[in-house]
Amino acid sequence: MDHISPAIWQFLVKWMTNFALFPPEASTIAPQMDALLFFMVLVSLIGLTIVVLLITAFSILYSKRRHPVAAQIEGSTLLEATWTIIPLGLFLVMFVWGALIYFRVFTPPANAMNIYVVGKQWMWKAEHPGGQHEINALHVPAGRAVQLTMISQDVFHSFSIPAFRVKREAIPGRYTTVWFQATTPGTYHLFCTQYCGTAHSAMVGDIVVLTPEDYRKWLAESTSGASLAQNGERLFASLSCAACHNTRPDARGPSLANVYGAKLALTSGQSVTVDDAYLREAILNPSEHITQGYAPIMPTYQGQISEEGIIALIEYIKNLNSDYRIQQTTNTTDMLPESVGKAAPAGQKPAVQAPAAQGTVKQ
């Protein structure tokens, strides 16, 4: 290869080694998606081949030289019905098959571990329940279903992992979820695929799939001290949530123990299952989500808690499995430095209202 310049040669080698026609399959859904993809490619190739072959054949057979006089044909109902029904049938097969895969990608299994993802211009922040924070990276164990609960702080983003064949937009104001089960340890691309402003193309990261042992090791090494639920507990205390949501018989708010996953009857007459989305709504727009039997006195926390704070609160509420835990939080509330000042003028009682509540409830 001495007649090719070494620079070009290296370039070519680099290209050819990196050259791929298909992304790696690294999740359980990937082979299923690819099966459908291959089916569709096959159908398309057959369709295209038929069209191209027919055009070529007709062009040769009926070129003016060979076939100087055209035969006028009106059409053929039989033929037209054929190429209406066959494509329709194939498209419907694709529709059903595709819908099944869509169900699977967006219906997390019950035992999935949950990781929160917050998108903002221009980074991905992942929050693990154990308190590990990551930016533009996500470590997940292989062989375990992982559910991502995502939200955006500003504009639409889209969390895309081509190797897993999953993608979901993180949108402002609402949780979206996606799940996957990684199969092969390795590092894969994470892209933001929804255009989100100047540094859109820099909103990329790595998905690191670890073996379960490595993952445990990683969890232990990268913890930030407090778990997400502990952060939530602190927030719960400092916002004086326990002033109402406590375990006392005269509590003004419903007890939050074991509330996650429970079915609640609301004053509006609806009944809802408590999930992340509901909890978020109930914190930000409480008046529209009042549990039956309680007065609509809860103030809104819109603008006072960041998305990460809400996530921490939700994680805390998720883990409230007994009244005793709430009691513990209530007890620590008085000891927190920021609540001391507020609690003092109220005398015996713990802080009655969060500061934001004052404007609204008293009127």
């Binding site: 930000l284 727009n285 409480p286 008046s287 529209e288 609509p296 809860m298 103030p299 809104t300 819109q302 934001a356 404007g359 609204t360 009127q363």
Partner: protein, 249 residues
């Protein structure tokens, strides 16, 4: 489906005999011309329907989501003013219809009178609308930076809310009244814009009608304008119950 082309050659002859001045060169005859512009006007109204369709969609979604806020916010509108405006607009539609009739039957002074009445009624509508708007501006009910929730957090401080017997809304519900006013201003504003354009054209028409332009048999313009004016009326017929009368009990 009107197959004009088939009739066309039949009438071709007499059309050529008279050749009225307003017949454009590319039409066979007056009827084809009138038909075409009438049909074009209807198509234009369809685009208007779809234009307002987007607003109605937004309105229905948010009304569904934030019903209590929408109820309280709607109490800020005055039914007497809105009702009177409805009356004005319906009457103006009637005078416009009569105007078209006058043009059809070639009554020049009748046409001018009807157009002037429509003009005045339209102006009256806008006048009342501006009274309503200025009230909203005073109360800081215009969405945006200066938007104030006072009337909803503390209904006793607000005459309209007090009269309707509103209870104070929690902050998170009250916040959504801003969406109501956004849609209120967007919808009535778009409607008022159509009224202003209509009144402008009316002025032009009064001027032309008094010169006898529409009583010589060529009434397409009056007819088409009538369609436009009635369409604006219809939009209001829907806006009035949707915005003013959400729930008054």
């Amino acid at each position: 489906m009107s197959d004009n082309s088939a009739i066309a050659d039949g009438v071709l002859e007499n059309a050529h005999d008279e050749h009225p001045a307003h017949l454009r060169h590319h039409f066979h005859d007056v009827e084809q011309q009138a038909d075409a512009s009438n049909f074009a006007m209807w198509l234009f109204l369809l685009t208007e329907v779809m234009f307002f369709g987007g607003l109605f969609t937004a309105y229905l979604i948010y009304r569904n989501w934030y019903y209590p806020a929408f109820v309280s916010a709607s109490h800020q509108l005055s039914i007497p003013l809105g009702g009177f405006n409805t009356l004005l607009l319906i009457t103006s539609s009637f005078t416009m219809a009569m105007g078209v009739w006058c043009a059809e039957t070639r009554r020049k002074s009748g046409l001018v009178l009807c157009l002037i009445l429509t003009f005045i009624l339209g102006l009256g509508f806008l006048g009342i609308k501006s009274i309503e708007y200025s009230e909203k501006i005073e109360k800081h009910h215009v969405p945006g930076f200066h938007y104030s929730l006072n009337s909803f957090l503390d209904p006793d401080s607000d005459a309209a809310a007090k009269a309707a017997g509103d209870k104070p809304l929690p902050l998170d519900v009250a916040r959504h009244t801003e969406l109501y006013f956004s849609l209120y201003f967007a919808m009535t504003g778009m409607h008022a814009l159509h009224m202003i354009i209509g009144i402008g054209i009316l002025g032009f028409m009064i001027f032309r009608a008094s010169a006898g332009a529409y009583t010589g048999g060529h009434i397409t313009f009056v007819e088409n304008f009538g369609l436009y004016w009635h369409f604006v009326d219809i939009i209001w017929i829907f806006l009035f119950p949707l915005l003013y009368l959400i729930s008054r009990h």
